[in-house]
């Protein structure tokens, strides 16, 4: 159960396997005393930010630099979500300044 001094974290697509290697089965409860951005959380966990298109905070899509508060439920989502849900869930208002979008990485660059 999520506590006030924790962030409940998940990773999707390739970040699912990446986080499992370090933390085992999701979800992960990351200690957090104060607010931080998605980018800062990713950096703290050594998650390459170019692997993140948008983040979920408490069930809503946000840009990578959105602020996460202790007690929040968070998920990192790499580029690759298919379908019109990219529009319907609001990706396009959040991902336009993120260079991780709309480009494919070479196989050897992938985590």
């Amino acid at each position: 159960m999520i506590k006030n001094k924790q962030i409940e974290l998940r990773g999707f697509l390739q970040l699912d396997a990446f986080l499992r290697k370090s933390f085992g089965k999701p979800p992960y409860f990351i200690p957090a005393d104060s607010p931080l951005t998605g980018r800062e959380l990713a950096n703290n966990l050594s998650i390459p930010v170019e692997e993140i298109e948008v983040i979920f905070i408490n069930g809503f899509v946000h840009e990578l630099d959105a602020v996460i508060n202790p007690g929040d439920r968070v998920a990192f989502l790499p580029p690759g979500c298919p379908g019109p849900y990219r529009i319907a869930l609001g990706f396009y208002g959040k991902n336009q300044d993120n260079p991780a979008n709309f480009k494919i990485k070479k196989k050897e660059d992938k985590i």
């Binding site: 697509l13 069930g59 998920a75 849900y85 396009y92 208002g93 709309f102 480009k103």
Partner: protein, 579 residues
Amino acid sequence: MNKFIRVNMTNKEVSIGKVPEKYAALGGRALTSNFVNDEVKPTCHPLGKYNKLIIAPGLLSGTSAPNSGRLSVGAKSPLTGTIKESNTGGTSSQQLAKMGIKAIVIEGMPEEDKFYVIKITMDEVVIEDAPKEILGGCGNYKAIEILQKKYGEKVGIALAGPAGEYRMPSANISFKDPESHIRSAGRGGLGAVMGSKKVKAIVIDDTGAKPVPIAEPDKFKAAAKVFAKALLDHPVAGQGLAAYGTDVLVNIINEAGGLPAENFKGGRIEHNDNISGETMNATITERGGEGKISHGCHPGCIMRCSQWYTDKSGKYITSGFEYETIWGLGADASIKDLDEIAYIDRAMDDVGVDSIETAVAVATAMEGGLIPWGDGKKVLEIVKDMAKPTPLARIIAGGCETVGKVCGLFRVPTVKGQAIPAYDPRSIKGIGLTYATTPMGADHTAGYCISGNILKVGADIDPLKKEGQIEYARAMQIGTAAVDSTGMCLFVYFGIADNPGGYQALIDMINAQYGISLTANDVDQLGISVLKVEREFNKKAGFTNAHDRLPEFMEYEPLPPHNQVWDFTPEEVDEVFKF
């Protein structure tokens, strides 16, 4: 494509004529929907002699255009009573296009109680008695094996499975894929229409077929190259669908709080990790054997979102193991074991029923007390029983609305009699407008694609707010109707929405193939015209705006975790089709 084939099952007469002038520029959904509107009596009984079944490749099918091997099937739907276009992968679309066949129409109905096979070659169309071994409950996998032995390994095959033979409203038409497995024209019960005409199978032998003629080959080749790059350079193809299939959406939609759970009571589940695309990928990789993470459902598919899912010993269970099926059984019906879901998916393919309609009907039956929640073994037994069929199997294959009535429920997630798929409209509102208004009955694929740049309509959509949703639902339905007419897989969406060059390349390919000069506006107009024709048929069949409504319980039952209700007024919903 210059042949228009009509098969009259009343008198067994076949005509192979030229394509009527008015259909010459149409393909796929544009052709099937125009034809149904022109020739099918709107008030007819869908399983009676006045209904007609039409099968048509898309405008680009048979060419080297990537992902152009989808096939459209049209008729009046026995599930919804509306016009229906259902499309599929498999080998048949490319084969028919290469044979120069624009469409096959099956009309009339035999008086005798006897099933037939329609065999189509370059020279003739023959109606033969169906082999006895494939009748009376024979599964589709076995039937394909028998028909291939009789007619040749390379023939294309379309089948009315046992559910189609018994004219069940959830029956699909099953099509052979490149490895002799099964793809489905799933929604709307068109397998029952095929069964009602006593056509057990259509066999397509393309021996002697020539490549599809291209008016301007160099231009076509150049445009196809640009189009392929637009698809493959996008992360959705490169690292989303190819690795995790459409099941990648379980975690995403669950996180968004829009994954309908336990017959649409909740929007999020705790056991998502059991059934996610990420888990599927890891399971297939770990089991090895015949498993494939990525696989194309039709020749020429470069996105390869399908896969071969295996058992613990690495033996093939099923392919095309889609998000909507896994959601329906895994979240809506709360079956928590991915292997159990895979066996049910295989069984649904084998009897030939729509996996969305069946899964939602199962969840509704669980609410109605007919099946224990989460009991995958019981569900597998019932689906297998559809080949006999037992009374309970008939009720489930009758579709979600039938189950709701039988169980005396008011929580019945359908629109125009068709089950709502895997995205709850209370927390993803734009999809709800499409469910409500599409002429097809609740169908996520009716609002799946857009023509041109998405930012014009979708830059700032908030899933819980009304702003922009009407324009979104309208644009998506228009774009989808146009793309459904090309024979393109709808997953080309991101390659044309995010990349203006990709959209132009799609138009350039059509222009180069036919030596014409369509503009982006023409393609939009095609989409609009298809929707208007479909709407016109439904109106003549008795449908009004009052049928464009979501289930009432969604207006007053808040959906956790966002605790939203469906709050669009009827007047707002009606705005979607004002164009």
